[in-house]
Amino acid sequence: MVRTPTLWEETSAMMGGVAALPEDVTALEELASNLPPDAAALLKGFTNPHYIKMSITGLKIFNTALTSVLERRAQGKKVAFYCFSFPRELLDAMDMAPVCTEAAGIIPVLALGCEQYIDAPVNAGLPDTICGGHKASVGMIIEQAEIMPDVIINAGPGSCDPNAKLHEWMAETWNVPLLNLDAPYYHDERSFQYYRREFRRMVERLEEITGQKVDYDRLREILENSNEQIELYWEIQELKKAKPYPLSNIYCVLVELMKYIWSGRPEAVEYFRIARDTAAELVRKGEGAFPNQRARTLWTYSGVYYDMELFRWLEEIGVAFVQDCFGWYPDKVIDTSTVDTMIDGLSDRTLNQPMTRQHKGAWDGPAGWAEDMIFLARELDIDACIYSGNLACKQTWGVLRLITERIRNELGIPTLRLETDILDKRITPVSVIKEQIEEFISTLE
């Protein structure tokens, strides 16, 4: 029997306090001080004064997105778990309750510090080398703190074995239909066509399994929002080039979460608009988002997510988290004129999502990891790279030396190599991470 309240309900209730906040740093800090330590640390990451409006908007979206899933589930809508690279817009247009597998685990653990859910899958027999994000999402269901999905969309095959295998495990263990989207190795026309056919087959199967049809008019509306997000995203990418750096470090991780949990919704567009407006204003005034900036950093894979306060701490020591691989969306605007252009557009976009794009093929191939990182390092005038090595990311660890040498040889930029778990704070204490970052940054000066 799944417990009540479920974990998401609990998280949503906690987030409810945030939703009621005015856009004021002191109010946020006060709320944080009255919450348990994990939630407090989470909120502290959002306290950059220039970006309080963006931060509160982002935090409210967490609440809205979570509540929406709970409501829709209560209404009997089909719950789909999807790997983060999959476009939730499609599921929204099918009137389903979409849940990003990774975010589903990450958000409650961050807010409520529920480490026992990270341990549960290993206790159930899974190897401990799988990704922390997945451990949490699977763990909460194993521990009956959350309800199982109705369908699982595995968009990981090709780019990450543990991700894809975990989705299969869920489907087989809980007897839930599994839809696989095989990412082809290359990035050429043939590959995009292959993927489009995969994608279309998936849509058909999804409609069959759930009994829901895609409402293409609704999809058009949603995609028009996504398109606006993309345009704003690109504007912000341009604004990022300014010196001093005009964005709060929390922007990058929020961008990812927005995409995973609420892309295509007006609130997400609003988020990007606020970010763009705030950044543009700072650039106009020639100001940075935080003082005494020392280094512009590119995080070549993910950030460190188990302690969001780290993003604010980086600002305090003058280090800008300018870009990470997971927040890199070289998305094109989708042509919403016909059903075909929309579906193909979604398919093409999915193949271009972080992790899939860089790691389905060769590290040094077109749209591969090296090409993307070098492009970003140049575009954004990066001083240093940081690889926050999630221990489960075997495909990136395997070519880390190759890429760090390439970046150093071509651009003269060094890379700090961290070893940590993406979500489990008990593996490498954040104090050790901070020490290593501080030492690294000081060597640049």
């Binding site: 341990d119 489990d424 008990r426 593996i427 490498t428 204490p429």
Partner: protein, 262 residues
């Protein structure tokens, strides 16, 4: 019928001699550099105590890390089976044995005859073994046997969050520097230990009654924490928990003898 069991572990060696189904002698020593030496030394002592010689032993089973190198053993059986067997014989209602040793941790499920049903073992990581307690006792500058009682007197245990013993050590040091009450730190250590063991228990599941064996069973703080986490009371063993393996080996000797004579 005189039978014997000998358990040569990595830290201690035990010997148990039974006559007609009752234990007549048992001995525990610290291991010698070679398992054959440990086995012979401990069995010599046990025999002396019972006023017997090797010739009197009709069947001997060895177990433990050094089990394959015991010259006087007729057969060897894994310490997993032996612990399960021994514990269930001592307390017939036992179905789950949690053995927390110096170097490893095992959870053993047995049936009503003490026969092995399932097991899981952690012998790669210090967390959840006696070694973890050893590190921590050193950091706190107390004897390992004091951690239990000290921890029990605490009302406000600290939280030790790091999984890796190396980082946990640093965490404990910080608490020491901060001047935290040593009893509270000891309690935190015991709780962390219990959590690791609990993780292992979950992999194979619990069927009551349970009992805790191995050196760490003497740490009352860890035992209490484990009971709280599992929400089950552990049955007390009527003998030194470290001798359970050798007792099990002895019982297997009886069975092997029975089979042989058939």
């Amino acid at each position: 019928m005189i039978i014997a069991g000998c358990d040569v572990g990595s830290l201690s060696a035990e010997a148990v001699i039974m006559r007609d189904g009752a234990i007549i002698s048992s001995e525990i020593i610290r291991v010698r550099p070679r398992p054959e030496q440990s086995a012979t030394d401990v069995m010599d002592k046990a025999l002396e105590k019972a006023g017997l010689t090797y010739k009197n032993i009709e069947y001997c089973v060895s177990t433990g890390y050094g089990r394959e190198r015991i010259p006087f053993a007729d057969n060897n059986i894994s310490e997993i089976s032996c612990h399960g067997k021994g514990a269930q014989w001592l307390v017939p209602s036992v179905r789950t044995v949690i053995d927390v040793g110096g170097q490893d941790c095992k959870v053993i499920r047995v049936d009503e005859n003490g026969k092995l049903v399932n097991f899981v073992m952690n012998d790669k990581c210090a967390a959840g073994t006696g070694r973890f307690l050893e590190f921590m006792a050193k950091v706190l500058d107390v004897g390992i046997e004091d951690l239990g009682p000290q921890g029990l007197s605490s009302l406000n245990s600290v939280a030790i969050t790091n999984m890796c013993s190396i980082y946990a050590e640093t965490e404990v040091l910080h608490y020491v520097y901060e001047g935290k009450n040593p009893a509270d730190i000891a309690a935190g250590i015991n709780r962390s230990m219990a959590e690791r063991v609990n993780s292992l228990v979950k992999r194979v599941g619990v069927e009551e009654d349970i009992c805790i064996t191995g050196g760490v069973a003497k740490n009352t703080g860890v035992v209490k924490n484990l009971e709280e986490t599992l929400q089950v009371s552990a049955q007390k063993l009527p003998v030194d928990p470290q001798s359970v393996g050798a007792i099990g080996a002895c019982l297997f000797a009886k069975e092997e003898l029975g089979n042989r004579d058939r």
